[in-house]
Symmetry: C2
Subunit: 212 residues, 2 copies
Amino acid sequence: MITVYGYSVSGNCHKLRLLLEQLGREYRWVEIDSSKGESRTPQYLAKNANGRVPIIELDDGRVLAESNAILCWLADGTACLPSDGWQKAQALSWMFFEQYSHEPYVAVARFIRGWTPADSPRRTAELPRCLERGHQALAVMEKHLAGNAWFTGPDYGIADIALFAYTDVAHHGGFDLASYPALRDWLERVRATPGFVAMPDPAPENAALLAI
Amino acid sequence: MITVYGYSVSGNCHKLRLLLEQLGREYRWVEIDSSKGESRTPQYLAKNANGRVPIIELDDGRVLAESNAILCWLADGTACLPSDGWQKAQALSWMFFEQYSHEPYVAVARFIRGWTPADSPRRTAELPRCLERGHQALAVMEKHLAGNAWFTGPDYGIADIALFAYTDVAHHGGFDLASYPALRDWLERVRATPGFVAMPDPAPENAALLAI
């Protein structure tokens, strides 16, 4: 069986739960609260020297890191990843876009607002740039979705899952999605896919910070 | 034939040149100096709404963006990407590591030092964090290379190419590799692979800034 080490309210981690549930795969989930340093313990660093969640571990102890690489491995051979080489490359392209041009702004804005102290200097130093760059990424998505139902080919798949995770909670970071109608329709379509599970709500301490 | 749109002294772009040369593939190269805004023209944005280099374009006009997704597509079915699913996932994992934990620090330090004015506020505001995070990434690589010749399985491949591109010019960003002996040996092994081509030197104006 697969064991996921992840922080349930992290979008990167929730990607795996969403795909595993939708594929009907059995898995164990070991909660690692990376916001409290649990991904930096010697035990965890022995599994992933980069100290990040999520990872998966197989029964024989082999480990795979990086959420989108894990999505690819889990989805290989299923309807969630096209078998056609060019379509597969397009899925990968959107997943690299997500990690380079989207997550560092959309997810980091959420983290700063909900997981750093109310008086954190990061709120003034970093949030404006996160919002600016995050909106650039959302605009790229909107442009694609104006002419396409999904991010790769005719069907829902792991590029959608990768991009959905933090876009669905973008409001936590202060993003208003009012000017992205195609994006909002796509979020609805993802929520309506069979076996969909939403990310759990943040803990009360984080919810209180997000409400500031 | 494949057309690459790229900036020759960008590591992300050089990855493609290195792989294409090593695979013996024919290609056209269209130089796009992204540092002078050439990836933000209406013509270029029509090909890649995200405004980044590199992209590849096929003869029928189809476009693929994101350097590491392009590496995967080009290498599929060759010795540069393992056919085994788990090994392929490990290659992807290192490529996502490169784009998330390495490039935003190792490459950005180089960009700030060589492609922003000598009095740029980014030199004091951003360089220290780039160096700190970049060294964390180099340490993760060193740990892997202490026990492995290459980044995926027993052979050289696209995970090595992805990580080599900016590591080989890390000194431009102010990184001293003296304390990474396994990393330096690996750089030498990559430089000795058949068909290896080095990235061209930066233009004189950038070289002058790098020398400050």
